[in-house]
Amino acid sequence: MISIKRFSISILLILGVILSACAPATPQPSAPSVVKETVMVVETVVVTELQEVEKLVTPTTTPGRQTLIVALAGPPDTIDPADHRNRFSETVVRDMFDGLVTRDNISGVHNELAESLTWKDEQTLEIQLRQGVKFHDGSEMTADDVVFTFNRIIQENAIEYPEAHTSPRKGLIAPLVSIEKTGDYSVVMNFSAPWPPALQLLVHQQIVPKAYLEQVGTQGFIENPIGTGPFKFVSTQPGFTEIVMERFDDYYGGAPDLAPVGPACVEGAVFRVIPEASTRVAALLAGEVDIIQAVPAELISTLEQTPGIQVKTVPGTQPKWMEMNVNQPPFDDVLVRQALNYAVDKELIIEAIYGGRAVALPGSLSPYNNYVNKSLQPYEYNVEMALELLAEAGYTDSNGDGTLDKNGQNFSFTIDSVEEHRTLAEAVADQFRAIGIDASVRFWEYSVVRPQLLAGERMAYLDDWGDSAFDPVGHFEAKWHGYVDGAAYGRGNFSTYNNERVNELIVQGETTPDTAQRQALYDEAQQIIYDEAPAVFLILPEEAEAASVRVQNWGPAADSRINLHDVCLAP
């Protein structure tokens, strides 16, 4: 769902390092040392499977629009990098603000504003900043700005507008205790514990100018933001329904590892919010916008066949499942939960609804996750098995009316979900009905149903939870750890699942730097979750974006970022 999910992507931590699972083995430079010299394998490793980008065509001053218009599926809630909680805000923010590090289209972390990041010890990160980086108002970025940025995020009530409150992005870098300036262009970050995904997380925080922000205040900053990104803010419509930006000619160039380096290719860019998918697509077809995100699966093939339109997909980062309330009948019985897992024909759903552009989930982690348990296979579609398990649990069709029952009560429940997942939810409900369960669906607004879910008031909930980091941290502990009031644990746990061993494993995994050890911990956790099946593990669809053929050097990113810096608009 829009806000929390996307927010979670950010929250999600970031991967450890891609190397481990995907790339050919690169020798790890560190040897785990007894005391303090454990060096984290860090950034700047170029991954071989960066997406193929088309060669740059030198833009000429041409007739035709040189402003890129992008249609977003939802409105940003703000353009303050420290104060937003939804994916759309992040998309817009990352074109106007740069961070210490950034991510390429898949999952590799690269230096951006940081020239180098070195772990002095397990809990201390030394950062050398790039020099000569200009903010949009011409001032130079220094260590003061970096320190200010992070303090603004981690300190309580550091954001004073509209009322004093703490940054909602603090949880994303929770282990960060303090940050100090050690020179004009160097800072040191101190963490409370070893933190493997630190760099992946830092991707999602952007640097803001201290002097300017202090001068105009947060409110002034939101009305006229200044950052170091490739685009400069020009104007916005109320509610951020349309944000206009222009190229920042003094841009330092961007991450040196990620070509092209230099100012942005297009003169300006506009983000326009069009929430209805069909309207978005129609706008693209009519030439009113150049790029659209979130193309519905049904329209992908139509768009692909339309001349003048190109469609691209990336492996998705929003796995979907139907969580069941494990503390209430009928879902307090593991047999029932497993039975439901066998009752869903995921292959049919993938084929019919997603046109083959999805994969079935082999449990609680996305199959692309670096720490996925490779021995787990998705629950197969087996109706007999499902009925057997249900019978064992006491559910049979004792009165021949076509519905399973137990002790005189029909097996009936409601699948709650959000409108975004209507098609999937209805299809899943239909498949349950096919085996005799009276399943219906009901749709809510996420913000309204979330408190009810956390309080265990609903029976079944179908939704996704972002996993853009390809690392369990930021996602695993949100979903499968027991709910802890006031902490990040279980903030997305809608099944009220609470297994002590799993909780232990999750906490350990967060702070274990050794990859093999982490894998073992996560493997065990995933196996337990798989067996206990607090959810029906469904599918992971690909993400599709579409653009006019004039758009070049564009490619959707796994973390849903729309990177406009590289994109060019042919005449």
């Binding site: 927010f7 929250i11 009113e288 913000s447 902490a487």
Partner: protein
């Protein structure tokens, strides 16, 4: 004398506005769902302490009548509270979106009157002719058609298949439009931007047509029936017998009197415009108040819904007031 009567009526509208505010407020507070939960639903992990803080901030820990009193006190000063979701003052959010809605509603009204007046008059003067039958059939269609469906079909035909008109938005980006008042058509004229004028008119066309269709149907029928009535009246027969031209009879005499019930009906239709406005804005992604309210309702953003509903109700009350005033000017025999 008349001025005093007008003042009287205006003052009478105030208790109604208060009543509206109270009804809306009570309604929000009495429905299930904890607002603090909802506000928290927007963010990540929140501590119990923060929840208490928020509760106190929004006065949710006070008894109901205190809350009502605080709310009214603020409302009178123009402070309608803060949106739970967008963390901005409701008044500001409403003010930002109001011009878009007003422009759409005005355009719809103009479109419907432009269609309804000639159609109604012609149908009345040529009763039972083919034109008359067609128009009345069309009018029936107009009031029977659901707005959301009409909008979708119009988009399908004119924007997607024929590509004559745009799919969404208020103006094309290329026209380099600069807002002044928030009424885009007006602003285009004020800034002398021809491209923007054409673009904003094109964007306004389909939504205004969708919103105005049922209104024009009703108004056309009312004009027709009241014209028919006046055309049969003694007054008109007298005028005709005096040898006045048909033109003069129709326009100067019959129409004048026919307008009286028409104005009343148009006043009632403002309610239709305001209500249907929410649907049409949703269908056309029109960035106005209606769409914001629908979103706010789903988000359970109480203050925003409250403030917006009140604005709608006030507009309606004022529109009725205007109608009442117009009524007196049209028919001096009737006093307020």
């Amino acid at each position: 004398m008349k001025a005093i009567k007008i003042l009287e009526r205006s003052l009478a509208a105030i208790p109604i506005m208060f009543g509206v505010a109270i009804v809306v407020f009570l309604f929000m507070r009495l429905t299930p769902g904890d607002p603090v939960d909802i506000m928290m639903g927007q963010g990540g992990a929140v501590s119990a302490g923060e929840m208490e803080q928020l509760r106190a901030e929004f006065h949710l820990d006070q008894p109901l009548h205190i809350q009502l009193w605080l709310f009214l006190k603020d409302a009178v000063r123009g402070d309608l509270g803060y949106s739970y979701v967008q963390k901005l003052p409701v008044t500001r959010l409403v003010a930002e979106r109001l011009p878009a809605t007003m422009e759409l509603a005005t355009a719809a009204l103009l479109v419907s009157l432009t269609i309804a007046l000639p159609v109604g008059i012609l149908s009345a003067t040529r009763q039972n002719s083919l034109l008359d039958r067609f128009s009345m059939a069309g009018a029936f269609l107009g009031i029977s058609m659901p707005g959301f469906w009409l909008g979708i079909v119009l988009i399908l035909i004119f924007a997607v298949r024929l590509k004559w008109l745009p799919v969404q938005g208020r103006v094309d980006f290329e026209s380099q439009f600069t807002p002044v008042t928030g009424f885009f058509v007006l602003d285009s004229l004020l800034t002398g931007n021809r491209a923007a004028l054409i673009s904003s008119l094109k964007h306004l066309a389909l939504p205004a047509l969708t919103l105005g269709a049922p209104v024009s149907a009703v108004v056309a029928r009312v004009i027709r029936s009241s014209m028919l009535e006046t055309l049969r009246s003694d007054y008109v027969t007298l005028a005709r017998s005096k040898g006045l031209s048909e033109w003069s009879v129709v326009f100067k005499h019959a129409l004048r009197n026919a307008l009286i019930p028409t104005v009343t009906v148009v006043g009632l239709q403002v309610g239709v415009l305001l209500g249907g406005n929410m649907i049409v804005e949703t269908v056309f992604s029109w960035p106005g108040l209606g769409r914001m309210v629908v979103g706010a309702i789903f988000d359970r953003d109480f203050p925003l819904v409250q403030g917006s509903v009140m604005v709608y109700a006030f507009t309606f009350v004022i529109a009725n007031l205007v109608v009442d005033i117009l009524y007196t000017y049209l028919n001096p025999k009737i006093s307020l």
